[in-house]
Assembly symmetry: D2
Homo-oligomer: 348 residues x 4
Amino acid sequence: MSAITVSIAGASGYAGGELLRLLLFHPDVRIQQATSERHFGQFVHKVHPNLRGQTTLKFCGMDDLQPCDLLFLCLPHGEAQKRIEHFSQIAPRIIDLSADFRLQNPDAYARWYGQSHLRPDLLGQFVYGIPELHRQQMQTARFISSAGCNATAAILALYPLFKEGLAQANQAIIEVKVGSSEAGNRPNEASHHPVRHGCVRSFKPTRHRHAAEIEQELSFNEAMTAHFSATAIEMVRGVLATAHVFLNRKLSEKDIWKIYRSYYASEPFVRIVKERDGLYRYPEPKLVAGTNFCDVGFELDGSTNRLVVISAIDNLMKGAAGQAVQAFNIMHGLPETRALQFPGLHPV
Amino acid sequence: MSAITVSIAGASGYAGGELLRLLLFHPDVRIQQATSERHFGQFVHKVHPNLRGQTTLKFCGMDDLQPCDLLFLCLPHGEAQKRIEHFSQIAPRIIDLSADFRLQNPDAYARWYGQSHLRPDLLGQFVYGIPELHRQQMQTARFISSAGCNATAAILALYPLFKEGLAQANQAIIEVKVGSSEAGNRPNEASHHPVRHGCVRSFKPTRHRHAAEIEQELSFNEAMTAHFSATAIEMVRGVLATAHVFLNRKLSEKDIWKIYRSYYASEPFVRIVKERDGLYRYPEPKLVAGTNFCDVGFELDGSTNRLVVISAIDNLMKGAAGQAVQAFNIMHGLPETRALQFPGLHPV
Amino acid sequence: MSAITVSIAGASGYAGGELLRLLLFHPDVRIQQATSERHFGQFVHKVHPNLRGQTTLKFCGMDDLQPCDLLFLCLPHGEAQKRIEHFSQIAPRIIDLSADFRLQNPDAYARWYGQSHLRPDLLGQFVYGIPELHRQQMQTARFISSAGCNATAAILALYPLFKEGLAQANQAIIEVKVGSSEAGNRPNEASHHPVRHGCVRSFKPTRHRHAAEIEQELSFNEAMTAHFSATAIEMVRGVLATAHVFLNRKLSEKDIWKIYRSYYASEPFVRIVKERDGLYRYPEPKLVAGTNFCDVGFELDGSTNRLVVISAIDNLMKGAAGQAVQAFNIMHGLPETRALQFPGLHPV
Amino acid sequence: MSAITVSIAGASGYAGGELLRLLLFHPDVRIQQATSERHFGQFVHKVHPNLRGQTTLKFCGMDDLQPCDLLFLCLPHGEAQKRIEHFSQIAPRIIDLSADFRLQNPDAYARWYGQSHLRPDLLGQFVYGIPELHRQQMQTARFISSAGCNATAAILALYPLFKEGLAQANQAIIEVKVGSSEAGNRPNEASHHPVRHGCVRSFKPTRHRHAAEIEQELSFNEAMTAHFSATAIEMVRGVLATAHVFLNRKLSEKDIWKIYRSYYASEPFVRIVKERDGLYRYPEPKLVAGTNFCDVGFELDGSTNRLVVISAIDNLMKGAAGQAVQAFNIMHGLPETRALQFPGLHPV
């Protein structure tokens, strides 16, 4: 089969860079164009130094975009909904990595983003980008909206419990520890190394927008509340989500294990990590850095019926570009793991 | 007044090293002896390199201990209760930094430590070492048991709320992010740099022993449950505690501010940190490294009545040696801040 | 062609782990056995957590080794020379990653390692493992001895200059900054996280053994002296070598560029990195982490004729396992880049 | 004696912040004013969070400066020479922490800074700020120019050797490893955490301006050449200087020890660090973080007569504010260690 032609709008950011890294090694893909207004005309490796010697691609402008089979959008908040008409004329399929089309409900969007959505009519046409929840819709989808990185970690950690109705709906506390790459590639006072280095900063104790995605995806028979907090720690890539839920019936760790197995045993990118001994008993972000894995583990406090579920991802991979490429593979009937097989490094 | 003579049993560990650092500069103190079986006869600066040129003190053996005014105990778990008779003959006053005498209730001790206490008769004689809660008893105390580092951060974060009966007693989730110095100075597989570096490790999702201290100190009219989890992150010194509690009545952030002010305004080592803007809106461990401060801040999620309280300490200072020296000052009627005035560094 | 069967003796260490990671994805290779006395019978992923879900291989004992096409040796210093007879009966080809067979001259070995070599007769049969210098001999080699990580970085930085006789032979100062993985996977006082974290430690100002390899490989018409020093910094993987040499004739940066190009332009794993602007003007270890690249750059101080040559590698890859797999590919007439194409991550 | 009134021009930077931290605890000093155009009117603790609760001082504007006993200048390059007339009317004594008045020779200034000096007439009136070299002149000095941080580390490492004429004058290679705080508090692309984190960046292989200071201070009977290179590593505070010199006569390590002792034994802030065993055999920046110490150690390679001298300082303390306060103490006949006694932390 001839190569699938893809272009990336907004390719100078971190998610765009990861897409370039992955797609350059994807045997079924030809990268046609990568846009950047800021770095127009430069070799992509000037911005993404790990691609030095891997490609001679240069950044083009947004207006230079030619028709292609699929367009990845890695644009600042609001741009996708503004230009979606134009983009959908360029490509029959679109994967948007921004937050613009994640929430199905326009009211929720307005409430969480403080402005009304420009294209509420299209919200229903975007499939929320977590394959483990929406694989089937993806196979025929035209539009996919990749999930937020923190939301991805939280949702995959809790999906089996809420789908099965095992957790109390309004007592889930979710804390994420995140790296500095989540804040993007633009320097600012908070990202200045002497300031950001070694910090353990509660940057969003409440009202983090990803809570809206979690609540959307984990509300089944009853609406769940995601009590969400985010802390920035000394790390560049990675998210560790620690979710504290209270079970609404008595379960053993073995019961819980079976439930998670039934959901994830056949998933290529979700690993249940729960060892009795050794150094690596639970998920750790650094072990999935550069990979598309989401590792999930848990521990039950029998005396209080609190279940602590821990998940780890690379925010730029399973939390962004890797998730998008996995969705891309599904959309095109390709093996899901294609171009996503890097196992990660140890030690690191 | 003539110097107060003190000795430190178990001075080669991290807490012992901090005590040496603080007491060497304490104008009212003369350090008489510092014991270490492992480093017997060596200069203390061989083990604590920051003391190079500050003292010619050498480690002696436990059996060499001479009578002194006050004895600090920094011994492995279980040693203090085993030798307390002997130690109390050496010194009229004792400050124990181990966990041996933190829990007043022998049953709680047996339940959390998996063995019955050797001297349940003495538990009642030890004052729990957080000055902000037990200053008055300290003034006349003979024995003080310093609090656990994580417990100190959690208790100071939540004390005003539980004392005032404002938080639901069985829904408090407390997550601490901790540095590697908490695990002590003995190398092991888990502390090996290539393994420990950059890790975000959920090492104790449930059943952390410090929960017992928190429940003891925060249970007033009704018993509270501390749903406690600990995550090891890339840091050497420091604890950030993030406590999620649900208020049992409607309060504004201003109301909560007033309550915290009423408890902590006159405390020399508790700072309420809550800024509307700037980079340092909430407590951060690195800003209190080397200091005896416990910074406390909070954010209210009005829509769910969840209050997130954040506190930061240096586990070796306010969480151990600094707290002990503060108690020491109180016991001797000295200004509480003596030898504890280092403000911390920035940037760091 | 049927798979090449390989086994790894000493597979629980960091170099062994990298070999496993690389060879598991090598299309022409079947990993037959991996030995570890310490972890006998355990799944390899218990020791190398990045391989979780990638293989069901378990560690076997040294005596269980079966005949195979090629044997990789990752054993402690001295073991290879002790058992070489036995190993050469197991496999027709051997790649030794230890230091045992790196020095061709038994006297040099005795001088640098403080003991006489057990098999001086074999030293001549081992090809020194840097493909850029010894590719041709490798094609027909039976035995290859992988180069030391620091030596690899230094040699590739300076090879063109000394081969061309352009640098003063006894004034080369080479400083390497190294990560903690160089010291192996056994915990010790120096590798304890609170001690090793953030350290900038001059651990080997003089007499580092890798100097012997550098002098062996860079002495052509006249003997060169490697004035070598090593500093441990806050890093797990990676080496940055900074070599200061004095040119023995007047050259421009352009002349030097041409010389390096003439040596490395066609090398798949050596990149000349020298940009006029941007953030990545010179080699950086983190950009080659997990890759087999050696990036080389330089800057000339025209006023003093000092040339500073900078090179960066991943000590476990181009400095160990990657270099060995590259040699393996050459020995078997395979494309050199096979199983070595990971481009590295950014940001990281 | 009544307090010495001091003001700080340019107090929002890192050096200014350290001056504030030190002077707030200096018993003989009253801080009168601290200027910042950018943060005019704000509390100093908004910019220097470690001063929270330590002072209610607010930043004023440059034009608000009132007469005081001594003025510290922490202004951007060029500002001091431009306004020196005005400043010298405000205060009878000035300590300038910028590079403006470090070089005595206007030609050297023009050569290294690419522009001619505005006040060559004053260069001779500024005492170069390293007390160990210029203590006597400081006692009566009106103007002091603090030394560059890297220059300070290099000069103190090599001073005894060059003063005694023991090192070859044109073969000294000096490599510094530096932290991110050296680049100041303004965010930029290079200081962005995901970029700067974990980097080992050769940012100035040649032509670093501090070389000019080193050559000025270490040239005695003959002009010495400082072959200087700087590498940025994962660290916020600190400099490790590794100096490689070739002795011009045969000396033993004991001889060298005696020479260093003769220069530094009575220095309050220079420690000779050279241990036969233990973890801390040589200087390490993290052990002097927050202190005014310069630790100096060395190792001799007898076979080549290369002496490697290693020194460590905190660039913001002995390399800037601490050095300035030490000079301040000398100028006023105060004990040199006043307000500079913090011993540093361990572990850290």
